[in-house]
Symmetry: C2
């Protein structure tokens, strides 16, 4: 077996320290499960800007394109808030998504049994919640042209961004979502604003066509984005797989993530198109941000990044057994009562980032 | 005192039957409080399409422009789902907002003490919640040009909508929000996506300028829209007045509304610019939709529309005393244990639309 090329981009803030724990798990996998990883590290975001003057250095991108998978921590922080728009840490993240063609962002919102009480929602509303939001990641308002701020003849300024999708862009994210629905409960809810936005009228038409022509076994429903935000709060368990465009997906997946009450637990995957050999470019990252306020204190929750690595094993390397092992270890450690500060609850044992990482290793 | 010209547009679905209850309150105000209303009715939405072939007939718009205030029920229903885009009931609503210049949409999310348990969120998270979301209503993605679906040279189709704001559009909604914040807790949170969208970079810049130049007494904060969706779920009571662009406002205000668990209780106001006499065009409507599934069953909750009328008294007619009377009557009736089906809870008395309306009158 050739070694899997894994590029690690810790990024900013707590990205560094949570990644240290993930590296221990990777080492463990190498030693105990005999899986050879070829690991390199790179810079992205603010820490890349500090060294190279750009949030996405050429060498990071080259390494990412050559890797079998990329594991990212988080980017951003107040230190870089006043940089011009195109130097901001976020541009590094958006740039790597776009350059690698990672159009499918998979964002699970899962409530762990041991953490039901962490939610601000009543236990019966969220217990057992298991939603997968498929967010389009390289189109829509985030990348549409024209964009920018111009000064008008009358001296006023005008800001413009463009929401645009072509049929092929809609079809490829649609297929990614339908494929996932087929592996789960064969239900897909497509979220749009087809009563107002023509761009999402096209979105809906293409989703309907796909279902009829390629996925007759999947039950497709449609929901307006405002109603989807409501329904996530009212009765999230009505959903299984949801698919939506980039900006709506950004908002809804964060809303769904917060329903679980434990952001520090949620991983994500961003996938590109499969090549002739069935390989696809992929980047895995936790849903939480760089949390600069708790950086370096050894209190951040490493589990979202550890679970992102599990997703990496599952989606990029077809190592379901190893992914299951990690996920089970996480569940057992939680059941055992260990908690980082963000998910601490009465009667549990508060542990540091490091101890949480060690406990997962021990459990493995 | 000259009679106040009030145009009533019941619209579709339950719009008709909730408006019947509001008319009783209007009659009561006329008789007992000696307030003269000059009332007319008109058609909008699907029911306008059925009669006139358009969701916004010329005579409705003319009457709206001549009215001191418009009270609207709700529009839409499956009956009109297959109409072409520009004939759909929603176009009537969007059209009247645009033509009347109603750029400021005020959407309170309030939890009534008697209804805390209706929320899917834990009582301590939502008890006493009182947020006002100020949504820009006549710009942004909803109205930006270019828009539409075109066929490309390669046979693909492409959908386009445009997010655009000018400085003056941002300033006028900003002022509306700052003014409201001044009447409340002097805190304003402006929601944008300034890390990704240049249009909202301009938004943020203008909000900052307004605060510095005209509202130094108001504390202005900024939040990205994805984080705002999270924070609404995590800790909604951190917010007082929020201001945001049209599409974000659509999503966030529905999310916030659902935090209360009782959509059937939430009114809204849509206001235009003040003229030389300080009068502004205004339209009041409940936040809930037309609920065609329960139409004609006398079970719909009329309170959101009744409270919309209270907002009308307050914002358009400066009748704070009368608005307070209605709001107090609503609170007392709820305290007395009466509930329509949507907010029914164990140990309470389930009543019809009609009985709820009668009870408010009795309480007044
Ligand atoms: C950091 C930001 C640019 C990014 C986004 O908006 O996509 C983040 O919110 C996310 O969801 O991954
Ligand atoms: C019906 C629809 C066009 C409308 C909107 O999106 O503005 C509604 O959702 C609202 O919030 O008033």
């Amino acid at each position: 077996m050739t070694a899997k090329k894994l590029l690690i981009l810790p990024g900013d803030g707590i990205g560094q320290e949570v990644m240290v724990q993930v590296r221990r798990i990777i080492d463990w996998m190498g030693k105990k499960r005999n899986i050879a990883f070829d690991i390199s590290e790179g810079l992205i975001g603010g820490s890349a800007y500090d060294v190279h003057g750009t949030p996405l250095p050429e060498q990071t991108l080259t390494a990412a394109m050559a890797a079998d998978a990329v594991l990212l921590g988080a980017v951003g922080g107040p230190k870089w808030d006043d940089l011009p728009f195109d130097k901001k840490p976020e541009r590094g993240l958006l740039g790597i998504r776009k350059e690698m063609g990672l159009f499918a962002n998979l964002r699970p919102a899962v409530v762990f049994d041991a953490l039901v009480e962490a939610s601000t929602l009543k236990a019966d509303v969220v217990q057992g919640l298991d939603i997968m939001i498929v967010r389009e990641l390289t189109g829509g308002l985030y990348f549409g042209q024209p964009r920018g701020i111009e000064t008008l003849a009358n001296g006023e300024r005008k800001g413009v961004n463009t929401l645009t999708y072509t049929t092929s862009e809609i079809q490829r994210i649609g297929r990614a979502a339908f494929d996932l629905a087929r592996k789960r409960n064969k239900k897909l809810c497509s979220v749009d604003k087809a009563n107002v936005l023509e761009c999402t009228v096209l979105w809906r038409e293409e989703m309907i066509k796909l279902q009829q022509e390629e996925y007759p076994d999947i039950e497709l429903t449609h929901m307006y984005v405002d109603n989807a935000a409501m329904q996530l709060v009212r009765n999230p368990k009505q959903f299984d797989v949801m698919v939506t465009e980039n900006m709506f997906g950004d908002i809804l997946s964060d809303c769904a993530a917060m329903l679980t009450g434990s952001l520090g637990m949620l991983p994500s995957a961003s996938l590109g198109a499969a090549d002739a050999n069935g390989n696809r470019k992929a980047l895995y990252e936790p849903v939480h941000g760089s949390a600069p306020d708790i950086q370096g204190k050894d209190i951040a929750n490493p589990l979202a990044t550890i679970l992102s690595f599990a997703m990496c094993l599952r989606y990029s390397f077809n190592m379901d057994a190893e992914a299951d092992m990690i996920e089970t270890a996480v569940k057992n450690v939680l059941k055992g009562g260990l908690r980082t500060a963000d998910i601490m609850a009465p009667g549990k044992a508060k542990v540091s980032t490091t101890v949480m990482g060690e406990s997962i290793i021990r459990e493995l």
